[in-house]
Symmetry: C2
DNA sequence: CTCCAGGCTGAAACCGATTACAGCGACAGC
DNA sequence: GCTGTCGCTGTAATCGGTTTCAGCCTGGAG
């Protein structure tokens, strides 16, 4: 009673062979209707539930996908996992999630442990490659051979695996151009963590946009963050203390932008009246801030779903297959948190709210 | 080359038996040092990685835990999963996540599919039981016998499984008492989805707190929400249109409170000057809103970690064992978004920000 | 009546690991 | 020299499914 019966016990109970049970369960092969109902009755009677590990051992299919992420903080990952889960379940797959893999040694252990447990992997490891080739090789996640993989925003440009990337650079450029267009010339940036590829690319977009308009890049207007609210809050405080205060702040993600909001308000200043703020990712909540947060939209859930689709294609494929690389757009979403320096022309009391 | 070798191929290659390979891998039994290094060399040479499904079949341990959730929207679940993942990985476990199970039929399918894939389950199904006993039985998730389970905020009070619950009622009561203490008498509520247990309990706390102070309960001040920002936004709009406008709004979770913020601001009103707003859950972001959101703190990540601890105790236990039920506190966290009706005494320009 | 086709069912091999048990060699004790 | 012990290694059963292949039974054709 305490533990589930095996298929053999059901077979003995129903006085048929295990093969018959299996056939009934999987609907394969011809089964006489009377035995079918008889077997189903026995299954219900004993409360039999097939053992997935055993099944995957013989079918060589686990019907689950591994998702390896660097971190699990905040809405970005929540959305990503949601998108992945939805797409996976739609096709009968389950997902095995593992987070917090800044260290590559740790990530490798997880990757190894996932072997035989999943049919494919979605790996996000936005760690920039060391310039040194040897170190780079050591740092690269070691993925068991034969397991299909989709890399998300991967650092290495090799075509070992399929990959999907966000157009961080283009998105950041569009955002900074928007700020420049509004008339801002002193634009601070709160960057992401050191060594993070997304962070580096967004920074690059920022510099490119400035350079294209001959706006000088000022080192001290760039502050380090770590993609968390707290770091945005602190960076915001420091920016507001600068002598010639910037008129706009570009935070490398929404969480930091929100922290920055708090810093500005705590100082008794207004957004966007006294200073404009913009973020990146367009997490669902950003449109409900007041004023709405200008951001760069990355369809996070869709990104996850896309990764699943590509992965399943690879899983179903037989033999060698050319790698597929994809870049998803990141589009500017202007909202109330950015306005020309000195404040918006219309009243700040009615911030515009963008619908989807 | 394309697919991983099995232990037998390694054995053949190293000219030893499979038992020896296994012993080297698991550090069990005595192995001569020379054969050990020889075997390790062979393993490295072939790039062998043990097959987890096969291993779990014979050891009867999968080293993974199933997490079945009703939904994956927003920071609540992000935090919960993070807490669970961290605690699980600390003890060498992986987690299998599955979301969006409002339908119990669906949930049952998932539960069945997880059999043999996980050593234990953390199940959150905050669906209220139908009053009808027969329907109740059908709606209850059918969990394979012999699999240890920890229920999170479960609707049924049976002691079939271990459970951990949040003190929703007490938390809501404390929050509404806080509003009453500030002097509010017209307190609106944005409730959670119909049939959701947490939502129902929070509503109960609201009514109890009002009743204790002889403040009448007004039906039309209660609006339905679904725990998402959008519904909070819409409910907020409707509340502001009421004839004798409430002076405070209690949203059944933070996401809806944030949506409500937006509605209030869009109408050109101030929080808390014109109306106070409070939420529930205390998601990480709520302290970075401006003003900070008064909420009820539920240590979400710790809740997840706690569930893992309890589950692992059950997994390691042999034989029958008394069920364990636990209620975690929900404590009021007052921040700037609530103030006496008519506005705070001090300037609204410097909202107080609470540190953890 | 004989033979064959086709529908069902069962026996046994297999997936890839772990592990109980047996066996082997070396060495010490008597 | 014989035997017992100890350290190490190999053989084979086992976990719980799927699937190949063979065999039985029945009915219809010749």
């Amino acid at each position: 009673m305490s533990s589930s019966p095996s298929i053999r016990e059901v077979a003995r109970f129903a006085k048929v062979s295990v093969a018959t049970i299996s056939r009934v369960l999987n609907g394969k092969g011809a089964i006489r209707e009377s035995t079918r109902t008889h077997v189903l009755a026995a299954i219900a009677e004993l409360g039999y539930v097939p053992h997935s590990a055993a099944r995957s051992l013989s079918t060589r299919r686990t019907l689950s996908l591994g998702v390896v992420l660097p971190d699990l903080h905040g809405e970005f990952f929540s959305e990503l996992i949601r998108g992945i889960d939805l797409a996976a379940r739609r096709t009968g797959y389950h997902i095995l999630v593992s987070g917090s893999h800044s260290k590559s040694a740790e990530a490798n252990a997880v990757l190894a442990a996932l072997h035989g447990r999943v049919d494919g992997l979605i790996v996000m490891s936005p760690v920039q490659q060391p310039a040194d080739a040897k170190a780079a090789k050591a740092a690269r996640p070691s993925i068991p051979p034969g397991v299909p993989v989709v890399m998300l925003n991967a650092a290495d440009e090799t075509s070992l695996h399929d990959s999907i990337r966000i157009d961080n650079r283009g998105g950041a450029r569009a955002l900074v151009e928007h700020l420049l267009y509004l008339g801002h010339r002193r634009i601070a940036m709160i960057s992401g963590p050191e060594g993070n590829l997304d962070a580096a690319e967004r920074m690059l977009g920022y510099r490119e946009a400035l350079a294209a308009r001959d706006v000088p890049f000022v080192e001290e207007w760039v502050l380090a963050g770590d993609f968390r609210e707290e770091s945005g809050f602190r960076a915001g405080q420091r920016i507001l203390e600068l002598e010639s205060r910037p008129t706009a702040i570009f935070a490398a993600n929404d969480a930091m932008a929100i922290g920055c909001f708090a810093a500005v308000r705590e100082r008794g200043l207004e957004v966007p009246g006294d200073i404009s703020i913009a973020g990146f990712d367009d997490v669902p909540m950003s449109r409900y801030l007041s004023p709405g947060l200008t951001s760069v939209r990355v369809a996070i859930a869709e990104l996850g779903a896309r990764a699943v689709e590509r992965l399943l294609i690879a899983v179903d494929a037989v033999g060698e297959r050319p790698r597929h690389h994809e870049v998803v757009a990141a589009t500017l979403v202007p909202r109330g948190s950015t306005a020309p320096p000195g404040g918006p022309t219309q009243s700040t009391a009615t911030p515009r709210r963008n619908s989807r």
